[in-house]
């Protein structure tokens, strides 16, 4: 056990902090989930890329810095401490990119990753369908072989596609073998949304922003070069990705530390002795999440794979996020209902126990895979 940052890591932190302080856009930014706001985010994230901060843990060839996972944590910590918003590119960066690094061909990596990092392409996730939410393996959107054209023809519908209305590309699962059932016979495809066979309909989220979309496929085309992994083996490729979403990468401890930092500031503005204990709870929860992440990163650095343990984290952070925002709302008292960052953040937090596998599904996974309880 050797807790603490090396001088190289501290130097890295200083570099991140200084650059962000000098370059960050006026805050708060407009919502990145709204048509009106997304442009400012794209611009900001391109500036991050230009300075080499978009994807610090990626190879330099793709715009990264070959940073360690620890340095990535430091970057995230500083990024959110500076009050900066979550990235509109995040679903590509955190969900697709790990699968591309693991399953992609060199050609795919070279072609896709730099444009993703530069936010030239913006990727959305195409898992859910109207009848396939928690039960992802029941999905029905089809990919039909087109040998003549050398690719696949897509029909069907994806839904709850985060920021789909603003994206250029979608990664998703499609049923390529109509005779196979459940998680067999699915293929992981990379789809260009800018083609005639694709219709994207923006859908407003709970908070009114156009952060969701329905994506309709009517004879859309995906060339063979945009199949990720083996044909019909999409499930195992996707599971690597959902592992990332549930666990470490999507929700860095820095996000919650920043919320706690804001809570403490709010408490100082509006001290309420009855809520002191909730401030302690907030700090402890975010700290527990951070320390638990440090243990996970140590294991990953030792070569372990993230497993069902990520379900423990996912339930914890998603319920913590709601509690942190509830404390913020309580501190605001009867003014909490008016538009502001805490009510906005609360609504965002309420999605946590639903997406990336509902918390009910996560608890099943914990009980079955970590404690060995019987599935049926």
């Amino acid at each position: 056990m050797d807790i603490g940052w090396s001088s190289a890591e501290e130097w890295f932190r200083g570099e991140v902090r200084d650059w962000l302080e000098a370059n960050k856009p006026p805050l708060p930014m407009p919502s990145g989930d709204s048509a009106a706001g997304v442009g400012a985010h794209l611009e900001w994230e391109r500036r991050l890329f230009d300075a080499g901060w978009a994807v610090v843990s990626w190879p330099r060839a793709y715009g990264g810095r070959d940073a360690s996972l620890w340095e990535w944590l430091i970057f995230e910590e500083e990024y959110f401490r500076a009050g900066l918003p979550q990235r509109v590119a995040q679903n590509g960066l955190f969900l697709l990119a790990p699968s591309l690094f693991e399953f992609g061909t060199n050609e795919q990596q070279d072609r896709i990753l730099p444009r993703m990092a530069a936010v030239e392409d913006l990727w959305c996730q195409g898992w859910s369908e109207p009848d396939s939410g928690s039960d992802l393996a029941s999905l029905k959107s089809r990919a039909v072989r087109d040998d003549a054209a050398g690719g696949w023809r897509l029909t069907g519908q994806k839904t709850w596609t985060t920021r789909g209305a603003f994206c250029t590309h979608l990664f998703g699962l499609f049923r390529s073998d109509p005779t196979a059932e459940r998680h067999r016979g699915l293929t992981y495809l990379l789809v260009d949304l800018r083609q005639p066979g694709v219709t994207v309909r923006p859908v407003r989220k709970l908070d009114g922003d156009e952060g969701f979309a329905e994506v309709f496929f009517d004879d859309a085309f995906v060339p063979d070069t945009d199949v990720l992994g083996e044909v019909h083996q999409g499930w195992s490729v996707a599971m690597a990705t959902t592992g990332s979403e549930r666990g470490l990468t999507l929700r860095s401890p820095g996000r919650f530390n920043a919320v706690v930092q804001n809570l403490v500031a709010l408490y100082r503005e509006r001290p309420d002795p009855e809520l002191r204990g909730e401030i302690a709870d907030a700090w402890m929860a975010a700290r527990a999440y951070e320390l638990s992440t440090w243990m996970t990163v140590t294991r990953l650095a030792d070569g372990a794979c993230p497993g069902a343990e990520s379900s423990l984290n996912k339930v914890f952070w998603s319920e913590m996020d709601i509690r942190l925002h509830e404390t913020g709302l309580r501190l605001l008292g009867d003014g909490a209902e008016f538009e502001g960052p805490w009510m906005k953040g609360y609504q965002f937090a309420l999605a946590g126990p639903i997406y990336a596998g509902t918390n009910e599904i996560q608890r099943n996974i914990i009980a079955e895979r970590l404690l060995g309880l019987p599935r049926k």
Binding site: G133, S134, D135, V203, K205, E274, E339, Y355, T358, E360
Partner: protein
């Protein structure tokens, strides 16, 4: 001893439920969301006709001369329908306050629905202020009347529930209303809002139960999963233990019990938590489908979030109860 409603009271409730089902559906509510008003005049005039707005006014002032026990079930229906408009403020707070203050002329007008009255306590932000003809505001232990001309113009505060438009008051021209008991004013409002919250919770539980019976995943209705069952059971347990508190508070106010402030605080605290839990459970059991603006669910959720804060949040009312119990 009898803790139940009369057939007449239940029949009046059913009539209001039918009216609101017909006249005040989600489309009416969405139209208000898209505008800057918080009240549909057609629905409002029907309520006036049925006597709901003047229910607590004496018959001599054109009211029904009924009491808070008659009103509580109707307020629950207003919650069930997520009815927009200052029904609590007008019918449950302002009318009896004007009656107590012997303000005959505005009382008659309010009972008939010819004027709209709103009410607030302790804060400058007043719901429906901009569309009211009269505002009654409790501040520093005094109930005061404010004319619409005395509102602060400019950027209005925007509630998460966009069907509850707020206005800000300029206190300088407020006129004290003699004869209005400020504690009773607050208790009336808290208890009435608690009734609305129970109705909101009931709607959320019922519609979610309906949804999970239909929605299928893994080849079965998701309502067959024990986790979903237990979420909804917990919400129903909370609601069915908040309702008696709300009904008792109505009785306590109607009969002028010395404990009416405590009883109203208890009702509001329990209704707040029951509705808050129902909102959480409803969203979680709907999943992503409920997390959209297109689905009607959010109209009810946001009303809950707004009304949980109106007339005292849970920490406030918990403190009131603690003070009464530990006096």
């Amino acid at each position: 001893m009898r803790f139940a409603f009369s057939d007449d009271q239940l029949a009046f409730r059913d009539a209001v439920r039918d009216l609101l089902a017909k006249m005040a559906g989600p489309d009416t509510l969405r139209a208000l969301w898209d505008g800057d008003r918080g009240r549909d005049p057609v629905v409002w005039s029907h309520l006036a006709e049925m006597g709901v707005l003047g229910l607590l006014a004496p018959e001599s002032a054109g009211g029904l001369g009924l009491d808070e026990i008659d009103l509580v079930l109707i307020l629950e229906e207003c919650g069930r329908a997520a009815l927009a408009g200052p029904v609590v403020e007008h019918a449950a707070v302002a009318v009896p306050t004007l009656a107590a203050a012997e303000a005959d002329s505005p009382l008659r007008a309010a009972a008939a629905g010819d004027i709209v009255v709103t009410a607030a306590s302790g804060r400058a932000a007043v719901p429906f202020g901009a569309e009211a003809d009269l505002l009654l505001i409790e501040r520093d232990g005094v109930v005061q009347a404010v004319e619409p001309a005395d509102l602060i113009t400019g950027d209005p505060l925007t509630s998460v529930d966009r069907s509850r438009p707020f206005a800000e008051v300029n206190w300088s021209k407020a006129i004290p209303l003699p004869g209005a008991d400020p504690a009773l004013f607050r208790a009336r409002a808290a208890a009435a809002t608690a009734a609305v919250l129970c109705g909101l919770a009931a709607h959320l539980i019922e519609t979610t139960a309906g949804y999970v019976k239909e929605r299928r995943q893994f080849g079965v209705p998701i309502g067959s999963f024990q986790a979903v069952k237990h979420h909804l059971a917990d919400a129903l347990i909370a609601l069915e233990h908040a309702r008696p508190a709300v009904y008792y508070a109505a009785w306590s106010i109607a009969t002028g019990q010395p404990t009416l402030s405590r009883d109203a605080s208890f009702a509001k605290a329990y209704a707040n938590e029951a509705a808050g839990l129902a909102a959480r459970v409803a969203l979680q059991c709907h999943g992503a489908i409920g997390y959209t603006y297109e689905h009607d669910l959010h109209l009810w959720l946001k009303r809950v979030w707004s009304l949980r804060l109106a007339w005292g949040d849970t920490p406030h009312h918990r403190r009131q109860v603690a003070a009464a119990v530990l006096h």
